[in-house]
Amino acid sequence: MLNMIQSINLALKQEMERDGNVVVFGEDVGKVGGVFRATEGLQQQFSERRVFDTPLSELGIVSTAVGMAAYGLRPVAEIQFSGFIFAAMEHLYSHAARIRTRSRGRYTCPMVLRSPHFGGIHALELHSEGTEALFVHTPGLKVAIPSTPYDAKGLLASAIRDNDPVIFLEAMKLYRAYKEEVPEEEYTIPLGKAKIMKEGNDVSIFSYGVMAHVALKAAEEAKAKGIDCEVIDLRTLSPLDIDAILNSVKKTGRAIVVHEGPRRCGIGAEIAALINEKAMLSLEAPVVRVTGYDVPYPLYKMEKLYLPDIKKVLIGIEKAAKF
């Protein structure tokens, strides 16, 4: 039985044992094993050559990862909180994501950028945002967000073995929320494959991260009101599992998308557009978005107003069901 932090730690350990080119670095990841302890014990096992603390420099971490990856390593870099990723955006957008294109495939960027993400934990300012849409909107990046300890291990292994840059966003609220059975042996979960958390026939709910769990609880409450929801955890936002989305919508004819980040140009907008383009005639109702609002993420006192919760998801479910 492992929680998510432990399963991430195990995936890192096993991938480092499997491939000598995997290196882990970032702020405080070495001696103390990361502020959340995701890299605990790795420096002791693999030495400072492969697991090291960097200066306090997000730009330095991401940009040197691009160079290391071009040289043939598989860097797994950590940004301590995803809210501090912006100084490195130039290197993500303009270089990590583009080096394959710019060199016509001669150089690639098989790096993973891990970062604690999302809100709901009463953290300080800029420690809680759901900014994943920025990375999905960056051509050339893959984006994975696990919602369970089991998925975290398999998705991280796939991300490290992937030949393109992967942004791996980990919900802080889920790090130690619960434990589940996670196999000791290696396994992978392919990037781009969603998971049906609960089957249903009336309304499809697409979500990921912490909100996948909120969606599931809302679906249970909706069941009592006679609405049978299907809950799909997208797991990877880039590439999206288009088959899973369309198959579900073709069955239910109604869809809602739940995410923490702001609504404008978010994942909900993308999914609504995809359904419009590819399953318009299956729709019985407009796609509903239940999301964070288009305001800067508030300090923690107003956090619960900002975030989608079971009540808000239920309102969304009823809106889709009763249209």
Partner: protein, 375 residues
């Protein structure tokens, strides 16, 4: 034990006036009246007690994660006393003492740590920017304010506080370059407290000192004993005067020590020795000034007891005021995003009200016990 800091003999001057035993070493003293010195001492004690109480409030779930200032009182209080009210101060998250010294109301500072947006909207905050949470981002903003003052011809300087870790980021270097090139009226005040969470100063940069980095940008860098209130005051006062006389920026490296954990979410025992902490406890900036005051006949045990009582009363009154504030409304979440609220925010506001069936939200100052974890 590896050397904790080296005083450079190579690149930059170093300043120390008040020795650890509370005696003066004969270096030139800044111009300060006895009354000003006592005032600075009282402020440092207020900051220390504020910090102790804030940590307790966090443990009781009455405020959220808190970043401590213990050990850095002299660096923050002396430099703030050296500023004029018209000068602009740019704090990082570890500058409660500077804010207190700059007369930001204690209630506002508690309101901030209670996770309430409304702390910053108060005119009583003065020319003090909101706390910068990302490391070093406040430094180029301070350069921008200094640039503005220069363009407008105002006799105003800006001062940016930051730590040793911040000097590893581009924001610091780019601000240094602008300030040097445009001769901006600015003071870069680095509190080298030896630790950026778990990473020691020696693993942050290969430079022997932080102060010497100014040399490469074409202006003056000075290293100062950051636990010596007279040295910090003197060096900062002179740097601010120089800035306002049009003679450009200065980088001041206050060599000090973070006596507490990085924050209430940290446990420094995991990465540093008790021996090192004890070494620095003996160099406590407050004890040092108290010894001086006692030797000078300016302070007694009775004064100390009275001060502690007064500080506790002031702080408890501020906590009460902050805790009794009316909770924010639904509109508070939306109304400061733009000058005028666009249609989609009006829609989202209505949607939120509907989710609460029109009832005002129950938002308490009490920090809820939440599943999951902050480190």
């Amino acid at each position: 034990m590896e050397p904790i800091h080296k005083i450079s003999k190579t690149f930059v001057p170093t300043v120390q006036i008040l020795m650890e035993d509370g005696t003066l070493n004969g270096s030139p003293m800044p111009k300060l009246s006895n009354q000003q010195i006592v005032e600075m001492y009282k402020t440092m004690v207020l900051c220390k007690i504020f910090d102790d109480i804030a940590v307790k409030l966090q443990r009781q779930g009455r405020i959220g994660p808190y970043v401590t200032i213990r050990g850095q009182e002299a660096s923050q209080v002396a430099s703030s006393f050296a500023m004029d009210d018209s000068d602009w101060m740019f704090p990082s998250y570890r500058e409660s003492a500077a804010m207190i010294a700059r007369k930001v109301p204690l209630k506002n500072i508690f309101t901030y740590w209670m996770g309430d947006e409304r702390w910053a909207g108060d005119a009583a905050n003065g020319n003090n920017f909101p706390v910068a949470i990302p490391v070093s981002t406040q430094i180029p903003h301070a350069a921008g304010v200094a640039f503005g003052a220069k363009i407008k011809g105002d006799k105003v300087a800006s001062l940016a506080f930051f730590g040793d870790g911040a000097t590893s980021r581009g924001d610091f270097h780019e601000a240094m370059n602008f300030a040097g090139l445009f001769k901006l009226p600015m003071v870069f005040l680095c509190q080298n407290n030896q630790w950026a969470i778990s990473v020691p100063r020696s693993r942050q940069t290969a430079s022997e000192t932080i102060a010497q980095k100014a040399v490469a940008y074409g202006f003056e860098g000075i290293q100062v004993d950051g636990n010596d209130i007279f040295a910090v005051y003197k060096v900062t006062k002179e740097a601010l005067e120089k800035a306002k006389n049009g003679d450009g920026p200065t980088l001041i490296e206050c060599v000090t020590y973070r006596l507490s954990d990085h924050s209430t979410a940290d446990d420094a025992k995991k990465y540093r020795t008790q021996e090192e902490v004890e070494f620095w406890k003996k160099r406590d900036p407050i004890d040092r000034l108290r010894l001086f005051l006692e030797k000078s006949g300016l302070w007694s045990k009775g004064d100390e007891d009275k001060l502690i009582r007064e500080c506790e009363e002031t702080i408890n009154a501020a906590i009460k005021e902050a805790e009794n504030a009316k909770p924010p409304s639904f509109e508070d979440l939306f109304k400061h995003t733009f000058a005028e609220m666009p249609w989609f925010l009006k829609e989202e506001l209505e949607e939120l009200k509907k989710a609460y069936d029109g009832k005002e939200p129950e938002l308490t100052n009490k920090v809820e016990k939440i599943e999951g974890s902050f480190p």
